[in-house]
């Protein structure tokens, strides 16, 4: 884990090839100003990448470009060190290797049964039907939707539809999972389910890219954060680097993660030693406070003994 983090922060110096190397990517919608204005980005194998940025900053357009659904006007995409052209073979390769879970499952789900839906991607990958069947069942099991297998998608709740949409992509066995604003319009239970899925996927070493507006989520989850603004990447770095950077936060209209603000205040009030690491999740925060109390009890205990 820490190896990975080092790799990510020092990726520029690294001589290993990234899983995906994007250089100078430009894209303009017809009759519109540039939606993407020269994107340079390396995505490393196994990393957890969060993409922040206001609506219309170009995140979704960027994803569709990665996948070859939108054809870039300029720039290059390298997958595993191989430059991808825009011919059919390479496009299919990109679509097989990069799976996008779209924001609204209702814009993604096409089949009339859940099983049919999950099998759609693998069927297009032209693998033997038996293998498709195995993958489909495994993906449904994974997302806990087997009991809906023969149901029509429109009778599912939105949380269940989201699970179907994720199973769609899992069944394709992509190298990179992209989640476009996955927690938008989900209730707390479904959001929690989603974070569990993200954690499990990255525990298996998959590469995950998530676009989000939730800074607290990005802070606790991501290895690395990319900030988009007006079709450009204005900053990238570890969560701490990004959220300590006032200029970036201001430019992208982001606020500090709550936990960071709280910890900083506790530090300046002297309640937490300056030297301790900032906890990135509530669990880590609780652990830290427990350790601190245990520590202070110990010192007072020894103090009492000495005076006696």
């Amino acid at each position: 884990m820490s190896d990975l983090k080092n790799k990510n922060t020092m990726n520029k110096k690294h001589d290993e090839t990234p899983l995906l190397r994007i250089r100078g990517l430009k894209y303009a919608y017809s009759n519109d100003k540039h939606a993407l204005n020269g994107i340079d980005l390396d995505i490393w194998n196994g990393e957890k990448l969060a993409i922040l940025g206001a609506n219309g900053a170009g995140k979704s357009t960027f994803f569709l470009n990665l996948n070859g659904v939108l054809k870039a006007d300029a720039g290059s995409i390298e997958l595993d060190g191989v430059k991808m052209s825009q011919n059919k073979k390479d496009l299919n390769r990109l679509r097989s290797s990069i799976g996008i879970v779209f924001q609204d499952p209702d814009n993604q789900i096409i089949a009339s049964t859940v099983r049919g839906e999950v099998s759609f991607g693998p069927m297009n990958q032209e693998i033997p039907v038996e293998e498709v069947r195995i993958r489909t069942e495994a993906a449904m099991k994974r997302m806990d939707i087997e009991q809906f297998a023969d149901r029509a998608p429109h009778y599912l709740s939105s949380g269940e539809k989201k699970r179907v949409a994720i199973a769609d992509i899992i069944a394709m066995h992509p190298e990179i999972f992209i989640f476009d604003e996955p927690t938008a319009a989900l209730d707390p239970a479904s959001s929690q389910m989603l974070e569990g899925v993200l954690d499990r996927l990255s525990d298996e070493g998959r590469t995950i890219v998530v676009s989000t507006h939730d800074v607290n989520f990005a802070y606790r989850w991501a290895d690395r954060i990319i900030v988009f603004k007006d079709g450009k990447i204005i900053a990238q770095g570890t969560p701490d680097e990004i959220f300590r950077n006032r200029e970036v936060l201001e430019a992208a209209n982001l606020h500090e993660p709550t936990l960071m603000t709280v910890t900083d205040h506790l530090k300046s009030a002297g309640l937490i030693p300056e030297s301790s690491d900032n906890p990135r999740s509530v669990e880590a925060f609780v652990r830290m406070t427990k350790e601190l109390t245990a520590l202070s009890e110990k010192t007072t205990d020894t103090g009492v003994e000495q005076s006696a």
Binding site: G99, I110, A111
Partner: protein, 300 residues
Amino acid sequence: MDPKMLIFLIPAAALAAGILIGTLKAGHHSHHHGMFGHKHGEATVSIDMYAFQSALYSLNPMFKTIYAITLLMLSVCMNNLYVSVLILLLSTFIIVVLGKLPFSRFLNLMTIPFVFLIVGTIVILLDFSWEPAAGALGSVHLFNFYINVTKTGLTTTVLLWGKCLGAISAMYMMSLTTPSGELFTVLERMHVPSLIIELMNMMYRFIFTMMDTQSRMKNAAESRLGYKDYRTSIKSFGSTASNLLVVSFKKANAYYDALESRGYDGRMHFLQEEKKAPGRERVLAVLSVVYLFAVFFVLR
């Protein structure tokens, strides 16, 4: 009474009793509201939903489809009231007792074709003439002409009703136990062109997403007094409809992106669960068809 009639009366009575007992039994532990009439736009959706809830849902769709089509053909081609009535009772028995659909809901669905049936056969039943027809069962004098009900008119009408209701109930038997997705697969196996199957698939999916969008827009308009009187209703309906068009274009785009990103190349293939061909049910189905033939030959 002709003893030959027993071949019709015994199974008819048995099926009717079965339906009655099944309905009474179900009535004890399930109370549902609304005997007749459904809310606006619910009919298509409810048929679709009943199929998923049917106790016969797990049966092989190919089998159900072939059986239903066989019954439909028998009802239409045999031109025999007894056969048709038996088919009507048999289908109702299968839907209500074996499929466990509440009888009132089935009755409710039957009212839809019933209206068409009444309107369609009224001209056959009634005979217009300048003079009272000889041998008419009844006639009404109106202005300077007569409306007669003749014996042939009546028998034709009754036969027609029997045939239609038998055929319709057979089709309901299929659609109330088999979800659309499975029907598409059956059609595919019957070598219907894949383009048509894909279109059906997409239409089926879009009916629901569009209905969803429409009802949301309607609610939004309603909550802003958009339907307070006739005039505004018309106006709101118009803007909702035109908006729906715009939304469907947008949605179509979003859909296409999502399809492409999963490698869509113009052909749509889905995995479908193989439901095993039934054993006992198949035997019963064949027996019932054989029996209907027997009725046809005995009571011709």
